[in-house]
Symmetry: C3
Subunit: 316 residues, 3 copies
């Protein structure tokens, strides 16, 4: 089957998942993002690459945080941005998702940024849109959140450029994370030789080893000699259920503290996709500490999203 | 009484209803819209006609769909767009509508796009605003939704340019439709010799014949030799009431299927203002079929709204 | 303690409160605002002073009215504007305010317009942000709403330029008003020799005289020979409580009618920060009468906010 995110001549048409994205495309995005890091530091933070284009942020579930990053990225590229919260909209009037999408297409929108609670929603939409439309997955169910994965590897590459000699640990709720899969795929594709996951068994998917990762259930062992620590967010709803005894218990075993951080290499960097549960999966001393690159991740997130949007727009 | 939407020298000042709009103004809007159809197909979909103007989308009832069309149109004209959902706003603090309007006027807004559940709201506002403000009715109660009516006749004219030789059928809930009246007025004004309405008696206003239409209660008879079919949306709330037995029953009698479509001329076009209730007033096979011009309607809707806004701005 | 809203060399860094703002800064804002009054009357109401800057309207409590004024002001300065209603956002996911702020900072936002129900929220945020960020307080609890105070004194200065010879009366719920304190500070700083407050005892803060005002509990006495009347909004929630017997009773004693207005100087001007409770604190005949400058206040509000934003941006 042809890769649904590539054109027939192998260019990026949609960004749906990092899974299956060729290494040359990954590198094109990361290299393009480098050029946008500087734009954000200019007096006038704006380039005309998407002038006269219409970018629609179509959010079937609310996420002000994610919507804001795409809105800022699109506006810095000079696009016209339309925000749509579809749950409060014509869905209530019985219109199907595809009718909504078809209507926006007919209005000559150029790009759809899709957030949906159901896995595969962005894929489904990408399969149905007209050829001139580009779809970006901004998070679908547990499945993928590729720009988060991209900004994570961009951050890794910035701080640890020699990716062929890295040990990376991903810690926490891999089972429900739409970020972990994207990260694992991107790191592996870019040549990181050792990716570990550290989590209780109840928060790991079955057969997680098949993704090419090493599994640990103990922080001391898992963090040993690690260069990069990627924390995952623990959703509050997991803490009341059968999967975890309590937030306190989780913090004791898997929460990243200065003490546990000491198991890693002294120059290891700490990452988190946000929003953080301070005192649950990460201690504030670490989150705000000298090894944290959590805020640079956010900065690079804008550059990466500008890169994706400008590459897609250039492949029309 | 002077026409409240025209200036003293007969130019368009507000767009409140198609009812009473002179044929020359109607043609001016449609001809201007022709020039904007091309803008949406350009690389840079933007013209500077409303640069430095402030367009306020003042929505007293929520309609993401309609708001989006006006927002896209205004942004393609380079206007600054301010979206206001007034139900969640100072109305709750006891401010009157007119205080809200006066405040926005004092902020030197240029254009108000008004959506309100009550008939006459846009007229009322237009009567009270300062001379430099232009009001566009984006739907008020059952009364009017003139840009929808305009885009409908624009679509008819594009597909069936010889309007003096057309038979048009409007099908469905004429009684509660804010679109049907606008359409009937526009078609009649532009010289369409025969407009029919097809609906159960419970969904027709009393004395509907006075609008100059022929009334049918049977699809086979009503669709015979028709060139244009305009479907109306059936609101869900009608289906639980005394007006209709059930959605299934309605679909059987008045839902447009391929079978019923065959009663019309072979080259008849099918229109729908959206959002569609597939399987209630229209079958998916027809909605997505070769005679459907439902998505072109949406495309032309942007051009028509750009035309209305640019004409109003030019008449200041 | 150094003034938290000034840079080390005495320039405006944040606008948090009028309290403690030096007279030269106050005058700089008012003089700059004069130049922006003209912009709103131009054909193209736009200047490029904030082009490529990102202004975030971060509203922890909803206020479409206030948000609109800042959004219009920022867009007329050519800024990119991002609206965030944070109550519906990541706060619900357990993210702290400061994480939200840090994230937006990392996205290279330039200016935060903060609205929060708690007193001191904008101060707190200003203390923690990176040096390149400017914070504008758009209302925090009962504490301050400085742009409202500034537009009020701007309006006074426009209508009554000889401020050293004025008598000003502020009438109503001083106790709960975030506007009254700002106004008193601004008027006093600009040399107004006599500021009065008129209110029932239950709506005055303890020791209000220490702000340098004269206290009256009777409209006839308080309004005598006054040049400027500043009405305060009576919040509906006060009227059900122990503080006031009823809205009718309040209107009878303290509501501004034409009859009571006659106690003031014949050329006295009437102001109100909006939204008005017509028939509670002010009669419609006065609100819409010849001495009312309530709508000019709104107009000047845009100019004042443009002035504040452009001064802050110039002090980076």
């Amino acid at each position: 089957m042809r890769n649904p995110q590539l054109t027939s001549d192998g260019k990026l048409k949609h960004l749906l998942t990092i899974d299956g994205l060729p290494r040359n495309i990954l590198n094109q995005i990361l290299d393009t993002a480098e050029s946008f890091v500087g734009v954000a530091e200019r007096e006038v933070k704006k380039v005309p690459l998407l002038r006269g284009k219409t970018v629609c942020n179509i959010f079937f579930e609310n996420s002000t945080r994610t919507r804001t990053t795409f809105e800022i990225a699109a506006k810095r590229l000079s696009a016209d941005v339309i925000n749509l919260n579809v749950n409060t909209s014509s869905q209530a009037k019985g219109e199907t998702i595809m009718d909504t999408i078809d209507n926006l297409t007919a209005m000559h929108a150029d790009m759809f940024v899709i957030r949906h609670a159901q896995s595969g929603a962005a894929h489904f939409i990408a399969q149905h849109v007209e050829p001139h439309i580009h779809v970006i997955n901004a998070g679908d169910g547990r499945h993928a959140h590729p720009t988060q994965g991209l900004l994570d590897v961009f951050t890794v590459r910035r701080y640890k450029p020699d990716m062929h000699n890295l040990r990376v640990a991903i810690i926490g709720d891999v089972l429900h994370s739409r970020v972990a899969r994207s990260e694992i795929h991107a790191l592996t594709t870019l040549g990181v030789p050792e990716v570990r996951v550290i989590a209780p068994k109840t928060l790991l998917p079955a057969h997680v080893e098949k993704l090419g990762v090493h599994v640990y259930h103990d922080m001391k062992e898992g963090l040993k000699d690690v260069d990069v620590i990627m924390m995952l967010r623990l959703q509050n709803e997991r803490m009341n259920g059968a999967l975890l005894p309590s937030a306190q218990e989780y913090f004791k075993c898997f929460g990243l503290t200065q003490e546990k951080l000491a198991y890693a290499k002294p120059d290891a960097i700490v990452m988190h996709p946000g929003p953080m549960n301070r005192g649950v999966e990460i201690d504030s001393a670490v989150a705000d500490g000298s090894q944290s690159v959590i805020l640079p991740q956010v900065t690079y997130g804008i550059a990466v999203r500008m890169a994706v949007m400008s590459i897609l727009a250039g492949n029309s």
